[in-house]
């Protein structure tokens, strides 16, 4: 272990034990009771998001240019006839000379595609998400309606060739909900845990230990050590509640009569449980945890740096509001990104360092690309280092030099 890491570990160890070995840590551990209320709010948000994503579903027809107007007109008539209860919005595209692959269209990102129809209207090829789906039958009706409209006499029945999508089977809406869930969970954890870093240097400044630390070890290792100490507390907190939840679940499973469970329908698989994030459950859960750590380190580093400049407890208290607003801002940005994966807003949220962990966690739910996460983690780590570096510079130039905390930038006026 290098001296830098060793120093960091010494500071982290001290901070971790100083927090955990106190009675107030028990109160801290029980704080998640508030989480239940917040979870309800989050659940509502996810539900609304899923609803909105469902509204973004579509059926696609790829037709000759001459058929486009007729298809749209027929769609309007049919929807009127069905009382406005058509399967999803119709997206009519002009066939390209090179040919269109309905499977590719069906798996385009950004919307749920229930069915795609290509080829001649009399004998179309229809690719549908679920075999015998309403969307597929609707496309047959649509083709018949166009042919009937054109023909003078009787029209032979349409002879469709149906195929179902075999891959990418989980609904985009469900995956987006998972993405939002990841964003919300990481936000909630960082809101509860990362904000505390703002006051973590207050102790050293108050009891003057900071000068001993500054003389003994690089300030970068002090800042990083404090951050990692707090992260250790956060991970312990999460592990505690996961263990409690698992234990509670096990106890419940052994206490409840199986017949009662069966009667309540618990034996049936829940649809959401069957859904799979784009990257798979194992990777998704793992990467979400890693992104929580990155979110904690990134936001924690900012709060630590800002808090280090505060001269009094009152200033630290005053900082809690802008810090919460900053976190909510990152949550909002990432939530918006989760509802429109692949869009410019999502790209921005993925690149902007302080929303990147949230947005990338959401991306892991809807995009199966995995290598991009390595890139994102490297980018985020770079920003953690940059924030720590700047925080230390500000601290050395301002607080340690005895200048007014917030006026580290003030130009020196020599006599």
């Amino acid at each position: 272990m290098t001296p830098f890491l060793k120093n960091m570990a010494v500071v982290a160890r001290r901070d971790f034990l100083a927090i955990v070995a106190t009675p107030t840590f028990l109160l801290f551990l029980l704080a998640p009771l508030f989480m239940l209320g917040m979870s309800l709010v989050g659940g509502l948000g996810a539900s609304q998001l899923a609803d909105s994503a469902r509204g973004a579903g579509r059926i696609v027809v790829v037709a000759d240019a001459g058929d486009v107007a007729a298809l749209r007109s027929a769609d309007t008539r049919l929807r009127d006839a069905l009382g406005g209860r058509g399967p999803a919005t119709l997206d009519v595209r002009i066939a390209s000379p090179k040919g269109d692959d309905p499977l590719v269209i069906a798996q385009e990102k950004g919307a749920d595609t229930y069915a795609v129809m290509v080829g001649p209207l009399a004998a179309p090829r229809i690719v549908e998400r679920e075999e015998g789906s309403r969307a597929g039958r609707y496309l047959v009706l649509l083709a018949e309606e166009v042919l009937r409209d054109r023909a003078a006499g009787a029209v032979p029945p349409v002879a469709p060739h149906f195929e179902s999508i075999r891959s990418g089977g989980t609904s985009i809406a469900v995956q987006q909900s998972m993405g939002f869930g990841a964003v919300f969970a990481i936000f909630l954890m960082t809101l509860l845990l990362a904000g505390q870093t703002v006051s973590s240097l207050a102790e050293e400044k108050g009891n003057k230990v900071i000068e001993i630390l500054a003389a003994a070890v690089p300030l970068e290792s002090v800042f990083l050590g404090k951050l990692l100490g707090m992260l250790g507390v956060a991970v312990l907190f999460i592990a505690f509640w996961l263990a409690m939840a698992a234990g509670g679940g096990l106890i419940a499973a052994t206490q409840i009569d199986p017949a009662t469970l069966s009667a309540a329908g618990a034996g049936k698989p829940v649809a959401a449980m069957l859904a799979v994030p784009a990257t798979g459950w194992g990777f998704f859960v793992g990467i979400c945890f890693v992104y929580f750590i990155m979110a904690f380190l990134l936001l924690g580093a900012v709060f630590l740096g800002v808090g280090a400049q505060a001269g009094t407890v009152r200033e630290i208290q005053m900082l809690s509001l802008p810090i919460t607003i900053f976190q909510v801002g990152m949550f909002s940005l990432s939530s918006a990104a989760a509802s429109a994966p692949g869009g410019p807003l999502a790209r921005f949220a993925e690149i902007f360092p302080f929303s990147s962990p949230f947005a990338m966690a959401a991306r892991a739910a809807t995009d199966d690309a995995k290598a991009v996460h390595l890139l994102a983690l490297g980018w985020q780590l770079l920003w953690v280092a940059l924030v720590i570096f700047l925080s230390v510079r500000m601290f050395r130039a301002g607080v340690l030099s005895g200048k007014a905390g917030w006026k580290f930038w003030k130009r020196r006026q020599r006599a």
């Binding site: 001290r14 003057k208 006599a415």
Partner: protein
């Protein structure tokens, strides 16, 4: 000669600390003005000065805790204080310990910061505490200790890793006489072990007893550098003379130097380079005799006060000159 070959920027040197032209501004105030410090390896070096003279800021710049606005500093020949941190022990002026920590843990923690193994730190903590008669509080939390005890704990923490350079900023303040004596013993013992000790103080008695060399800082600048004897030699010998006869003050004063002052039944004055013999000849010839006579070299305290007063007088004269110039303008 010492050098650490681990770092490329280090060079052989006879000095543990070499600071050149250290200057620091706090807004408009020039807290330290081109101060030089050269601390020989293995010595006890005192930085003396009145309150606010710039001692602490100079030490902090030397250790790399704050950056100087001008000047350079080398520790063990290295421009990078961080590269030799493990060889340094530091007791800051503002004492700081985690109140919730036990003494043993606090000492081990401070040692661990300088690279000492935790277990070894705890073991050495017990040894040091026993030597200083503090073994009964080794497992007490810092918050339960008296200020003096906590200060001793912090002092042990700053030397527990057996550093080559020990920097103590006002180490004696806040200690009772018994603990001051213990601290002096500890400082000498560390020097005998081979460590270099650099400490600041404004209490001359400690400096006089401990220092091999010293620097006096006043009004942000170094005003003196040398040994204690060299500092004392700045002032002439002081004479106390009591005449045997009850002669008039005017008659006696005529025999003595112009600055002679009567306090009680004795006259006090300094003697010049000519020495005391011509004076004794005059007194003998006058017939006033000698009821009492003592000749003493001034102490460090007197030398310090003399230097500081000279500096203050210079500042007052400059200020008066500036005021007169402004008034005439």
């Amino acid at each position: 000669m010492r050098a650490d070959s681990a770092s490329g920027d280090q060079r052989l040197t006879d000095y543990c600390v070499e600071a050149r032209g250290l200057t620091k501004y706090f807004d408009e105030f020039k807290a330290v003005d081109h101060v030089d410090l050269e601390v020989p390896v293995g010595s006890i070096y005192g930085v003396l000065g009145p309150n606010g003279a710039g001692k602490t800021t100079s030490l902090r710049m030397t250790l790399g805790i704050i950056d100087p606005d001008e000047g350079t500093s080398r520790l063990f020949g290295s421009h990078k204080p961080q590269s030799v941190r493990h060889r340094i022990g530091y007791l800051p002026e503002e004492r700081g310990l985690y109140p919730g920590m036990k003494a043993r843990e606090a000492i081990a923690f401070m040692g661990a910061l300088r690279g000492l193994d935790w277990g070894e730190g705890r073991r050495r903590a017990a040894t040091f505490m026993a030597e200083l008669g503090l073994e009964r509080v080794i497992d007490e939390k810092i918050r339960k200790m008296s200020k003096g005890m906590a200060q001793m704990v912090q002092l042990i923490g700053s030397i527990v890793h057996a550093p080559d350079l020990i920097v103590l900023d006002e180490p004696f303040s806040g200690l009772d006489p018994v603990n001051q004596e213990r601290l002096e013993t500890l400082v000498r013992r560390e020097r005998d072990r081979g460590a270099t000790i650099l400490f600041s103080t404004h209490v001359m008695a400690h400096a006089e007893r401990l220092c091999d060399r010293l620097a006096i800082i006043a009004r942000s600048q170094r005003r003196f550098e040398g040994t204690v004897d060299e500092a004392r030699a700045l002032l002439p010998m002081q004479v106390r003379y009591a005449p045997r006869t009850g002669a008039d003050d005017g008659v006696i004063a005529a025999l003595l130097p112009a600055d002679a002052q009567r306090r009680g039944d004795a006259w006090h004055f300094a003697i010049d380079d000519a020495g005391v013999e011509p004076l004794l000849a005059r007194i003998t010839a006058s017939g006033h005799g000698v009821a009492g006579l003592s000749i003493a070299r001034p102490g460090l305290h007197d030398a310090f006060v003399h230097i500081v007063r000279q500096v203050d007088a210079g500042f007052a004269a400059d200020a008066a000159e500036e005021a007169a110039a402004e008034a005439s303008a």
